[in-house]
């Protein structure tokens, strides 16, 4: 058998193979990918993870060349390929719906790319002596692969995916899993520098999906090709990847190893998306001390401002349950509300003060019993808050009326002139959501809803392209159209601060990064999610 070394061999195994630089993609006025920066290292298994519509597939399609970025560049091995069509990129794609060619059998599907492949070789004359060009250098020529070479590669590819002997089969006679294997073989035999996989297991049933996950990891290891994998399945991402890129609303939230993403989520969205978690609001009273309700808990984070409002993430499996008599006085105490058997553990809801903790433990506690909760300081992860108050550039349009996000709200305008530009702020609790858009002053879509132990933090995306944060006891369905009202006396106005507030008409932005985090495995990473508001203060909840 001829040499079929499909692995890309390089001297430096850990250099950057794909670089995404300030890439933005706008479809019909909607920004799907927003100024992304990402570097992918050679040989890595990178997963782009996020909910549907977050822009992960669009990013993948831009790397493949099916879409052209509205702005920014994409580099493959330091060559700008932004405008290079897909058929000239040494990148191959595996599609979610296989996209096999129905008129060709398995063998011909796999051979499709090979028949088109051209390789550059040294030109030789009939005696086998090298032909030299005008400058005396070795002349090159482009040739097709021979039938034998193609045959070898196809057979090797089919063997790789465990389908040797299936060459003559009609693709429509194969199961979904087998079809996806053919698609993977078809892409791999082209020996791409990067293999892109767009939710390749999305159409398969659970058992087949698990099997294919293992197969893909094996192939990645054997071939050494860089894999870029798109999924919305966090478990899949945690299982398979070297590096996970968490994307939300077209913005990269965090890049890191599965362990890092799980243990040290950068913000509440990452924490909520990866694994189960208790997300709570708290206050950093000192380094290594965080206050939740009236309890001060030891934690492992420092570097926050004194009394800074923060979010806490505590994984359900990291909470120990102790009998109340054995616990220290300072420990959290709660009453077991619900207990559900989940196969290998019990999942319990334990009410501590106003908060509901989700706790996973192998020992069941009686419903109604009072227990103490012990949390190791290392298992409390502190995250900087995205925003603690809603704040928007506004205009006083009449006495007692101010325009915020395209709606006219009543408020106290004493001391301000009509027509004056002001900054209006109101806290998360001052805002009320109503079922019907007409009953609210302005309308919007529920963009996100996050349970924070005792209330839901709902993010409403207004028609004015702004986000309003609302703390509410009710759960709102993501995607629903709702109305917003704001309490009259809760809206505070102030004059714009020319240094802090940008003049773009958009709310002032604040760059932030969690003080305790480092960039870790990743060569380069996008700036954190742009903030729509200033961090000022959050009213006590």
């Amino acid at each position: 058998m001829a040499k079929t070394n499909m692995a890309t061999t390089t001297d430096n195994k850990r250099d950057t193979i794909i670089e995404v630089k300030n890439v933005t993609k706008v479809f019909d006025g909607v920004t799907v990918v927003d100024d992304m920066n990402l570097a992918i290292k050679r040989g890595e298994f990178v997963t782009l993870l996020g909910p549907s519509g977050c822009g992960k597939t669009t990013l993948l399609r831009m790397i493949a060349g099916f879409e052209t970025p509205t702005d920014g560049q994409i580099y493959v091995e330091r060559t700008n390929v932004t405008e290079v069509p897909p058929y000239k990129r040494s990148i191959n794609t595996v599609f979610q719906k296989y996209a096999l060619f129905p008129h060709l059998n398995v063998y011909k599907n796999v051979a499709f790319g090979l028949k088109l492949k051209r390789i550059v070789v040294d030109a030789v004359d009939k005696q086998g002596k090298p032909i030299l060009d005008k400058e005396g250098k070795q002349a090159k020529k482009t040739i097709k692969l021979t039938k034998q070479q193609i045959d070898d590669k196809v057979k090797y590819g089919l063997k790789m995916v465990g389908l040797d002997g299936y060459g003559g089969r009609d693709v429509s006679s194969l199961s979904g899993g087998q079809q996806q294997r053919v698609a993977i073989a078809r892409a791999l035999v082209c020996e791409p520098k990067v293999l892109l996989l767009d939710e390749p297991l999305g159409a398969l049933d659970l058992k087949m999906r698990k099997e294919m996950q293992v197969e893909l990891m094996r192939m990645h290891k054997e071939l050494g090709i860089t894999f870029v994998y798109v999924t919305h399945d966090q478990e899949e991402a945690l299982t398979m990847s070297d590096t996970i890129v968490v994307i939300r609303d077209g913005v990269i939230q965090q890049v890191g190893t599965p362990k890092k993403i799980y243990d040290e989520p950068k913000n509440q969205y990452v924490a909520d998306f990866i694994g189960e978690s208790n997300i709570l609001s708290g206050t950093m009273v000192a380094d290594f001390r965080v206050q939740v309700e009236d309890k001060i808990l030891p934690c492992s984070d420092k570097g926050f401002e004194k009394n800074e409002k923060v979010d806490l993430v505590i994984r359900p499996e990291d909470i120990e349950i102790l009998p109340i008599e054995k616990a220290e006085v300072t420990a959290l105490q709660g009453v077991v509300q619900i207990s559900v058997f989940k196969g290998t553990y019990y999942e319990m809801e334990i009410k501590v003060g106003g908060y509901e903790f989700t706790v996973q433990n192998t020992v069941e506690q009686k419903i109604g019993s009072t227990v103490a909760l012990k949390i190791d300081p290392n298992n409390i992860h502190i995250m900087k808050k995205d925003r603690v108050i809603n704040e928007y550039k506004s205009e006083v349009i009449d006495e007692g009326v101010v325009e915020i996000c395209g709606g006219n709200f009543e408020c106290d305008t004493a001391g301000f002139e009509i027509g004056q530009e002001v900054i209006a702020s109101f806290d998360f609790l001052a805002t009320t959501l109503v079922d019907h858009e007409d009953n609210g002053t302005i309308g919007g879509f529920v963009a996100n809803s996050l349970y924070k132990g005792k209330y839901y933090q709902v993010q409403v995306y207004t028609d004015d392209d702004q986000d309003i944060f609302v703390d509410t006891p009710d759960e709102w369905d993501i995607g629903d159209r709702i109305g917003i009202t704001i309490k009259k006396d809760a809206i505070k106005l102030r004059l714009p601060d020319p240094q802090k507030d940008t003049h773009t008409g958009h709310p002032a932005e604040e760059a932030q990064s969690a003080p305790s985090s480092d960039e870790g495995e990743v060569a380069k990473q996008a700036t954190n999610q742009p903030q729509d508001a200033l961090a000022v203060s959050e009213d006590e909840i």
Binding site: P86, Y87, F112, L116
Partner: protein, 271 residues
Amino acid sequence: MNKKKVSKIFAKAFIYLVIVLLYLPIMVMVVYSFTNSNTMTWNGFSFALYQRVFVDPGISSAIRNTLVIALVSSTLATVIGTLTAYGIGYMRRPFKKAVGAMGQITIVNSDVVTAVAFMLFFITIRSIGIPINDGYATLIIAHTVITIPYVVLSVSPKIRRLNPNLYEAGLDLGAGPLNTVFRVILPQLVSGMVSGFALAFTLSLDDFVITQFNKGTSVNTISTLIYASASKGLEPAFRALSTIIFVTILLALVAFNAIKYRRDKIKSKKH
């Protein structure tokens, strides 16, 4: 005999009666094509009428005209119709529906209206100085235009069923856009194109009204020739010609179904 049996026999008899009535006129024609007589009287078995079909210069030129026009116009219609269907398939929703509906209006439109419209259109074209002769040119144009919607109708479902990533998969594996269309997309549309072509071909063969209005004086197709001769007592050779056409279509239909049956059988075996 009970009532149930009687009604069953009656129901069956009714069906056979309808079939006999359907085919009786054709059968009479077929039978009388094998006798050499000017009127519908039996004059002994003979192939004379068949001989005349191929000898008579008027008839053979009409056959040639009909086939050439049908072949050229249905080929053109297949090419244009497939491209149109592909274009419509990738349009945005509101336009897609509007264009799709507009394309189909000509199918339900009355033949006479279409025929007169073409006649007036060609007169207008000539009057502004574009030379276009009545005959082949006008008939090929008219037949192509009226059969395009049928090709669009038979190709569109194939385009709707295309995997949206198929074209991209072609590009991804190194085939350029044109190469991908020919190697990946067209093979998926072939069956729709073949049935569209067959439909266009038979429609063109069959057309009388539009042809009659636009053929001019020198060119005749089978249908217009038969019509012209019918006014002065039908030329008996047309009985033979009509039988040939009937048998040809019958054979084509049987062959088509046999192939389809065999293909389906092979497919179902594999599953």
